[in-house]
Amino acid sequence: MARIVHYVNQFFAGVGGEDQAGAGPVLRDGPVGPGARLAELVAPEHEIVATVWCGDDVAPGKVDEIVALVRSAEPDLVVAGPAFTSGRYGLACARVVAAADQAGLAGVASMHEDNPGLDEAGAVPVVASGEVARRMAPSLDRLAAGIRRLLAGETLTADDGRIGKLARLTVVTETTAATRSVDLALVRLGGDGAATEIPLPRFDRVTPAAPVADASAVTLALVTEGGLVAGDNPDGLESARATKWLRYPLEGRDALASGDYMSVHGGYSTVWANEDPHRILPLDAARELEAEGAIGGLLGEYFVTTGNGTSVANARRFGIEWAGDLRNSGARAAILTAT
């Protein structure tokens, strides 16, 4: 019998909604929430011996803590999700299985193909779930089948619903590249314009947020990908391919003095930004509108990263983390400047 430890968020653990998004991580014995059904599906050969849950807002940053709890239950396999299209949850699931993998623990995650966390699972298999929790039952069926195969020592492929990065392996085909290209051209001419041997990454469609009813009643955040940092970049923001974002205080400041800030962005000439940082972050105008009552309030800090050759996976993660952070701090809308 194999021992499975299941990772879920605070919602699926039955702990609470957004009010509990900052709680955890917590280790509990046996299956919890959707784990109950999953346990039935993998029984009697395998058992969910423990569940670790953590709140969505803090989980992506508490992965080490989560994996330590997972490890304490001595799993043969770590299972995370299904996370459907929930961004923070998907990111946490992907990071938990990726970190578990680094620690020598086998794992599998489940989420929808459009989940922004997908890419962070690295080499760990991810099985497709439905888009929303209403698709829980078929999602668990597929996940359970994947679990059985993995625990039988097999590898998951697209036939098992595996999504995300698949290792590119050298295979011998019966026809040469010349023949295959002509075949592919014919297929495309025949109407299947998407046929390919090498699927390209695609951008997912974002459902726009509801507007704010009245800007004069909400707290607004200023964020930028323009690489504007305080002082001489004490926190080492990268000039390209950023792997992180930073926050700097705006509390009590009405303007950004030239010389106190600089841009480290490597993708545009920073002469104008360094001459007047407001060209990247419009604090002066925003303060003016705040004083006149057109803006309810400005968040007491700004977020910054460098959008220059930044991977889509990292950019998605920054967005998810920014949104979670803003929600916690009470900000309800943002102005994002892009160079």
């Binding site: 922004p116 726009p208 947020a209 993708g267 994002l336 400047t337 160079t339």
Partner: protein, 92 residues
């Protein structure tokens, strides 16, 4: 951020890219290296332009959208400012 429920006005010059990747609320600016500025104006004029951009962003944040939507400063008004507006900078 939009997906997570935070309406976000994207102030940028490369509007076609912003549309292609699906940013829902886009405010068109005048140059890549200065999204909220315009060095061709004098200090007072530039500050005024910046204020107009932020006001336009506020309008975008208060508008319901269903697909990538571009908001322009002064949109819907008679184009009194266009004569003085410098052409878009598209280098970098």
């Amino acid at each position: 951020m939009e997906r997570a429920g935070i309406p976000t006005a994207l102030l940028c010059n490369l509007v076609t890219i912003a549309e292609r990747v699906g940013a829902p609320r886009i405010v068109r600016t005048r140059g890549i290296p200065y999204p909220t500025g315009d060095p061709s104006l004098d200090a007072e004029g530039e500050k005024q332009w910046r204020r107009q951009l932020v006001e336009c962003a506020l309008e975008a944040l208060q508008t319901e959208v269903h697909e990538p939507t571009v908001f322009e400063v002064g949109q819907g008004r008679t184009s009194t400012s266009s004569a003085a507006a410098p052409s878009e900078v598209t280098h970098a």
